[in-house]
Symmetry: C2
Subunit: 241 residues, 2 copies
């Protein structure tokens, strides 16, 4: 049973935006998780020197930025939008051409989560690529934290839940778990972690994306190159925290 | 990848009533799962000779039946409602006094799931107590099936997901899995099954109920006495299928 003197902050997992109404971000930190690919791409881009990644939901919003002279990234059905400079692959934001730049990043599910997290103390982007940096940041903040899985069109997807589970497992001594979603994500990660890529290959999210030919992106998003960066949302976009 | 000739029916898990809108029961079978305790109690009662268990959501509805002379079961906050004949423990429906009887069963989460499943081909109640009977029934029906986890006040609870996972694991060769909720429930069950009671004791649902002193009920609901009964909803209540 819970120690009545237990003053550790609470860590909780929101499994999909459809369940967000069961969570209250006020005064808490929120880690947005959209492993394939939004938060992985944001993390990798900032690590490789991009100054700012501004998430927008629609091609129309991105077009408005494009007209103002911004660099714009976006895909529809896995294919780069022809008049944009970039698609959504993390591999597009690693070169000299993006260093120090601000990039408008079209991403439906991830952007919605950022908007829905309004009222949070801070919003950051988490992924396997920067997991140690995220673990350390949450631990140092020592504040109630929601791990917000972006899912796909309000549906639960396993890759997001697995990263949430990895965070919960790492922080289980320092934070309190008070609901079953959080406990299940932790147990699922413990079971799957040795064969994560194999399990993800069974997932429908993977199958859907694989048909679009982005298997290399997915392998990268499920890897852990220890990027030492915490993308923090500054009210407009993600910058290095 | 999915075989294009794959004509196996689909099995899917709805993790909480809050996500039910993502599922369409029309023409499908629905297995309602409320392990602690509604569907376990219904199963055990029918196995022990109760003729019919009629689920109702509110004490007020139950009172109306009581006035008509029905036997009525119900609790509030884990305590038997004083003027009802029974509480909600499965152990109350095992004796000679209930054989052949119809019992009005007050259960909030489970009843809601039955109402929400309107339009389904058939609605049955599943639990660990009758798991083999449920496996066989679903397999013989050979029809698209939704495993509907009742949860607690629209929140996900792990015990319901674990039973859903047990069903998916058993039927994974005969049915197609096309979403990540279903895959995750299966993987979670595979991981937890050896130490199910230990894992459930970490769950908040268990802690909440343990405080009400019903630990024996929970142990029973997580056990597998191989009750050979499939409770089928006949439009009014659950009867032996």
């Amino acid at each position: 049973m819970t120690n009545t003197q237990d003053n550790r902050p609470i860590i909780e997992v929101c499994l999909t935006p459809a369940l967000w109404y069961q969570h209250d971000p006020k005064g808490k930190n929120v880690v947005v998780i959209d492993i394939i690919r939004a938060t992985s791409t944001i993390t990798s881009a900032l690590h490789h020197g991009v100054a700012k990644m501004i998430p927008v939901q629609t091609v129309e919003e991105a077009n408005a930025y494009l007209e103002k002279g911004y660099l714009v990234a976006g895909e529809r059905d896995g294919i780069k939008i022809p008049h944009f400079q970039f698609g959504n692959s993390p591999f597009e934001f690693m070169g000299e051409d993006v260093k120090g730049k601000t990039i408008i990043h079209t991403t439906t599910n991830g952007t919605r989560c950022v908007l829905m997290s309004k009222g949070a103390h801070q919003i950051v982007a988490g992924s396997f690529l920067n997991q140690e940096a995220i673990f350390n940041w949450i631990r140092q903040e020592n504040r109630d934290t929601i791990l917000f899985c972006a899912g796909w069109k309000d549906h639960y997807v396993m890759d997001d839940a697995l990263f949430a589970g990895a965070v919960v497992r790492e922080l289980a001594d320092d934070f309190r778990i008070i609901d079953d979603s959080t406990l299940s994500a932790k147990l699922l990660y413990r079971y799957v972690r040795e064969n994560m890529l194999r399990s993800i290959k069974q997932a429908t999210h993977f199958k859907r994306l694989q048909r679009l030919g982005i298997e290399q992106d997915i392998k990268f998003c499920m890897s852990n190159p220890h990027f030492d960066v915490v993308p923090v949302f500054d009210g407009e976009g993600f910058v290095k925290g």
